[in-house]
């Protein structure tokens, strides 16, 4: 399988940065409508995704990262779903689900395990 290039890993970093930002903006805009548990959950997911963005920035400065081809497509789909979901408060369950999938992909990419990455990406593609 082709390796993720530095440029592709940087693209992941950008997308994770964008998703974390959107999760934060959603949490602040809907603060009074969210339960304390939902706020904490969203905050944890926002931080984890942002930390993955930073990890990917560091990885992207180095050379080849992981043996995956479909990762970017999967992440892109996740980002698009997140953008659509944050427009509607009713989608809170969906937002948390998509964020969870992105965290799984983030964890998989940093381990560099192709099987784990493929499984995480296939979830995002569903």
């Amino acid at each position: 399988m082709p390796k993720l290039t530095a440029a592709q890993t940087f693209e992941l970093a950008r997308q994770f940065n964008e998703v974390a930002q959107k999760l934060g903006a959603y949490r602040f805009a809907n603060w009074s409508k969210l339960t304390p548990g939902q706020r904490t959950n969203l905050e944890n997911q926002e931080w984890t995704i942002r930390n993955y963005s930073s990890d990917f920035v560091a990885l992207s400065i180095k050379l080849d990262v992981a043996d995956v081809a479909q990762t970017l497509t999967g992440i892109k789909r996740g980002t698009d779903r997140m953008k659509a979901a944050v427009k509607n408060l009713e989608q809170i369950a969906k937002i948390i689900k998509v964020a969870t999938i992105m965290i799984s992909i983030g964890a998989a990419v940093t381990t560099g395990n192709p099987t784990v990455i493929a499984a995480a990406v296939s979830e995002a593609m569903k």
């Binding site: 940087f10 970093a13 950008r14 940065n17 974390a20 930002q21 934060g24 602040f28 603060w31 905050e43 926002e46 931080w47 942002r50 930390n51 963005s53 930073s54 990890d55 920035v57 560091a58 990885l59 992207s60 400065i61 180095k62 050379l63």
Partner: protein, 336 residues
Amino acid sequence: MLKLSLFRRTIALVLLLSFTLINTACTDLKAIRAFTESSTEIGKGFPNLAKDLSASCKRQRTFQGIQRNQFRPDRLVAITHPEPGSPDFRKLERECRAFTEIEEPLIAVNDVLMEYLAAMGALAADDLTAYGDGLDGLGNSLTNGNIFNAGEVGAIKGIANFILKASTEGYRRKQLKNALEENNNNIKTISYALQRIIAEKYVLQLKNEREQMRSYYSTSILQYGDYMRRMVAQRRQTGLAQGGHRVAIVRAQDEPDVEDPLPIIRVKRIWDEDEKEIQDKIAGAEAYGKAVAKIAEGHQKLYRERNQLGSKEALKIALTYGQTIKSLVDDFREAF
């Protein structure tokens, strides 16, 4: 008599030619030195920038730690000022190690570029001052980081070799043309690599840090709003329970949710200071990226003029690029 007159004319001509040559040489020296001096200025603060890669990552994590432990002063001290070797210190080191590892090779490559520019300035001045002292151990620095591809490593080593050769073999002004010819492509390659890492990747890391900082302040302010609302609700309940205080109860019901905005005004000022600090760093990193791009561009134009470095065109190029880079140095210095 005729012979004496001819001799005088010859002497006058030689003096005139010598004066013209000296004048042209001084003009060259001044313009090219101005270009290289402005260029090397941008490199002086670079180690501070490179070390901020891991520092930014650590600040991002520290904001998270503070937020999770804001009512535990014992933990706050350990998180914001971790003792070397402590669990908090080791955790931060581990989380940001990937950034730490790339700092040394980045500094080494910036050093190569700056040493080359200094050498170029010295050649223009016909100065035999030794240079290249800081290039020992360059090979190890480059391989440790695994951040430059084969072409980039080749370019860095090519420039480093030129500097060492120029120093040991006592290159003089006439070799300035060789310097431009031998290193033009290498300078472009190094410049692009540094732009890519600093103006794109480091800037995205700073943006992650900035978002985390905004998340910290925004969440804290919203939590303060919740706290004030609970206070107001509690007061209303207390007023009702005591009875006989109808006026006070009515006033409480008309009051806004948050009664005391003063802490927010103070917090916003601290927030603004943090915003400015990160914004200055983003501007500084972008200025560095633009400066190394201008160095490569100026070098390319001087390369085109390499056969007539004393021409007005070469002079204009060196002065114009020197000025542009100088203005970028000011932005860079604001942060680093």
